[in-house]
Symmetry: D3
Subunit: 273 residues, 6 copies
């Protein structure tokens, strides 16, 4: 909902009504668990949904994938479903699972993966807190992780990665063929991406002597497609660009060294190329 | 954990360790979801556990049931798994489910119940927020309820009750045969029951003229097994008893009317008959 | 509601329903501002209510007063409506108010009080935060206070007290004549008083040599109506009584000095004489 | 205070002092209930104040209105005082109020409105929670509402609107004639409006081929008064404008379609035309 | 303050005044860091204080010790100042500290302890978070611990214990000679101890056949000094006693086995032998 | 950490690990009390640190000072260590301290200052809450203050200022000679300063007729170094500048009066001249 608000749709969830309100008469929203969304989009109860690639795969859902998003500001990495075992376990690869018991929330995914490797093992559904079980109650777990820190905290070791997953905007096939619905979904995708993109970007603006400009641009390829405009003060130009916040700390000292003055960094709401 | 503390075992869950600490060297504790406990007790990974009757049934677990507890102070009723549909639905009994789709957390229980009634319907696993689905995404749900208020708030109607459930202390069959473990589990059961019992009880103490005592006791059968002791003040006795807090508001006016004086009510930690 | 719970009626206020639920089928509850209760009891919309003596007077309500309660644990004092002015003001008595402007929530009370003293002044209704106005916006205020600390913090001086007020249980005259309703209201009064009484009392129990008993009782008149019971250990008796928590710290050293042993203090839920 | 901070005046309310501190030696602030502000501005105790149009009317205050503001980000609508009755009530218009009882916080406003329509009814002051009274304690209420949701939740129906109200900056007539005070108040108004305006606006910047510019501007009249500046890259211009955040989600897809590139949206602190 | 309240003195700390208020006109309170209390008691600025034995020693304060308390409900153990080093450190005893650097809050205590063992090492004052320093910034630390868990979490190993410490009530020598002050301080000590004692105790009451009494008392020596009183029901007696909450869970099953009936456990406020 | 994040380094402090994580592989962070940082930088356990000038002086640390920062947004003033006494004290200057007792956290600083003035007084270490002691436990205190409000609240009077202090980035001498480390520390300083600078600045953008430009720039010297760029609309230019947020409220009305149109204020992340 926070991303939707940044994209331009304000959603309010009232404790007295059971459907979130969105300030767009053309949309109706439902809040449904990520695990179930692809199933209801496939069946056509929903025209579109945002869920993880992992659950689309786990549910074997036949849906149209409109776009992929990277939500997490911290890591900007995909989440991964991994096979994990206690640090001291003798399990070193999928082969060692033969005859073992595995707890996981994604039993479908896990069983297909075992089958692919020709390994027979017992896979049981875990209702949550799966890491805690790996030490005593089962031999291995298949669990989702982003940075691996929760696994490490439980003294578990990652053996293999089964699947990488990112958030996806998906649509029902029939809805996607309806031109009005498709345009609506595409607009949503465009603005969501613009808002998410902006979270990791900043605007950078600086003045530089015209004579230094080629050097500045050449030595800093990261300054792609800068907007250069003339200033009234003759011999000076204003340079403006959008860059990843992550590189600002390296870039500013270099820009200063290359002759930039009056460098300012400002926040962005959306970036649409 | 709150009940365990009242029973006399203090449990601390540290954010840095992954096993709760209990101040009893003879016990090791694990926090596991109610849904999974009976499975691990059956397999022997745990000697005993506290879980709901519903999940023992759903999991078809072969365990020894040591005792039943009524935890909820408010209702002191059992929880129920019920078939619910939108208020305006035409489904009026299990028969009307033929060919319908049902969402529930207890798919095993639901399928067996349908089979028993000779009804064929699609049962799909719901990851939660099941009430919300009953209106648009499925035809009916099987959901747990205590007072029915959440169902009413979602404008759902209860059609039938599939199962009533209360918390149970269960033991693994082998553990129950081990006399040391059995005595330990029985002690736990005794004190847990004593602590839970005490939550809904209070102590009542009063003085009454000896002459009025028979009348007082006769007219108030709820005052069962009172402890009557003589007072130094001749002709008076002290009467003390334990009663349900729920009846105190009716009892005190009657006791006063029957001649009781200096009535005091005091809180209890445990009651063991 | 906390006092009602202590008296034995559990009230739950749901955010989804607009009438509090009470676990007594014979009662229906409404939550209404203290200022308005006496008006609706007088009109018969409510059979009974709990409100302050001040608002009964301000509203000139013709109702039956069933009982008086002292709620506040800290002070156990009545609240007072006082005339207050800035510390440096020249107003020293009601006489000095002639021609002044006074802000207050109780305009009726204030006007009648001025009239009684033959003083003409402008009285304006204050919506709250009245203390803040006394310094700049009006000449004086009539405000409620318990300990005077909020007035002192605003550097205001109390000139006179207009009214002392305590909580009252009131009933509509017609309801009071209805014997069923009257008995219900009296029961409520009895148990509310018992619960409130108990907040400031504790139980005290001790053993003492029979020989020391007369001395102990004589020298400690505060130990009124103790329950004395014989002990199996010959020559000793058990003494039990209920006393104000406020005097315990003085009493226990004296009891010890007078020969009491094994003194214990325990909490009470209700005290009904 | 949040709006004042955005306008450029930082206010701190200390728990130890009774007057808010503002970082402007030319201003002294008082926090007074909205209901009372116009009265004290009229009397000259305050030079200026911010309050609702409704309370100026209710108080019949003779003050100078400097400006109107729309504070609420969500609705940006005026608040309304409406006559509301239970859904099932037979009251359908002001005429049906003859002889009825009405509860409201704005008794002056309500009485004048009834008089205007030649209707006689009893109007009683409500200290709050007025919605709850409409069902049992009175026949109708006059209550303030923004979206009507609280009324709906209480199952009340709006019959008529008595008054629409927005926040106003008002000044005492004498203060407004004082040129120094007037300039100060006007500056406050200018910056408050600039800050409030900015809450619902965003900056939009994009590059576009010079050739496409006329088409882009013509087809998008909402892009009023854009700032167009030349870029060093020949044939391209930078277009910058301020638009309502509410239309961004429609505008960006259209801008992209019209040839805009590198569209960025950035937040604003103030907008002063 | 919580203990003082349990003892019978209610303390309120207002944010607007700088001295805590206590409801006893004979007492004036000051809140001072535990580290400094003994110093000000010794100098006579305070008549009495509650602080740790450790800080009395660290400050070398010449004060009268009135009593010792064990505050912590969990452990009821003394706190300890220990020498700790990283788990992998080669320091195994005080001898190995020669020439090392030690960080601690108790530099006086540490230097005297080193001197006693004839070891020369550098001792530096630590302002807090001392555990974190042991790994990189110094060779060892002297830190306070109760259960050792914070040290273990930082992977530190306890080498030796320098001092065990419990809370003490101390008095200035002159104050202690003043009979009025001494009695006041002794009363405080008596009631504080009674309240703290009660935190770890409960009351136990049961009925038992007179014939079983000797056996019950003999086999359960922990039931020391029970109060036995006759019941009206011939052949039965009531037994009441105070025991450690920690042993209740073992005691109740044994009492039941020995013939006790109607066992109840109730909470206590104070216990004074 | 908030400043570091603004500068471009995201730090996360996990409750399970004991070293903060920073998203820069070239940095390792430690969180250490301000009082101790300079000591560990001097000893070389840390290459660089951020601490107050006061603690560098108190510790007599020989370190390289890289830069000075003003952190506090409210005051942007330096903090001061002052000699304070009760309002009614007769101490009027450092001379009056002869033979007195002084409590302070900075005993080194205070002793050196007394020595400089040839005054002999007892200086004792205070563990905190020093203001409270000035009234009863010592004759004077040396305490840190920013606005003096905490001292005034305790009714203390400032006698003299011993030291003004601001945050400093300091480096170990050896680290500063290492060119790689030095460049890293300088980059940190540059970006920290850019982020802190930006907290008190805003961007201002407006359009103005070319003809009015000289007048506008001349009459508003605060608009230093504006960036002036041509607009497509002939005769108009865009003016953009960075100014102190504190002067915006005066500036905008003047800009408007001088012919500026479409004035917008926008937030900044960093400002690097």
């Amino acid at each position: 909902m926070e991303k939707m608000a940044k994209a331009g749709w304000n959603i309010t969830v009232s404790s007295r009504s059971y459907e979130p309100y969105v300030d767009d008469a053309e949309l109706t929203l439902r809040l449904i668990r990520a695990q179930e969304i692809s199933r209801y989009v496939e069946l056509g109860y929903l025209d579109a949904g945002i869920t993880g690639h992992d659950w689309i795969i786990e549910n074997h859902s036949d849906v149209h994938e409109v776009g992929e998003f990277l939500f997490s500001k911290i890591s900007r990495q995909a989440t991964r479903w991994v096979l994990a075992v206690p640090e001291e376990s003798e399990i070193r690869s999928v082969r060692d699972l033969e005859g073992k018991r595995i707890a996981t929330e994604v039993t479908g995914l896990t069983k297909r993966w075992l089958r692919k490797h020709g390994v027979r093992a017992e896979v049981e559904f875990s209702w949550g807190a799966t890491e805690v079980k790996a030490r005593e109650l089962v031999d291995a777990i298949v669990e989702v992780t982003e940075t691996g820190s929760s696994l490490r905290a439980n003294k578990l070791r990652i053996v293999e990665t089964l699947l990488e997953s990112t958030p996806r905007l998906i649509a029902n096939h029939a809805a996607w063929k309806d031109s009005w619905k498709r345009r609506k979904i595409e607009t949503l995708a465009l603005l969501l991406r613009g808002a998410i993109e902006a979270e990791a970007k900043v605007g950078l603006k600086m003045n530089v002597r015209e004579a230094h400009l080629p050097n500045l641009l050449q030595s800093l390829p990261a300054l792609r497609n800068p907007t250069v405009s003339g200033l009234s003060q003759s011999g000076w130009v204003a340079v403006e660009t959008i860059i990843d916040e992550a590189v600002v700390r390296e870039m500013i000292p270099q820009l200063k060294a290359a002759g930039a003055e009056g460098i300012i960094e400002y926040p962005l709401n959306k970036v649409v190329y």
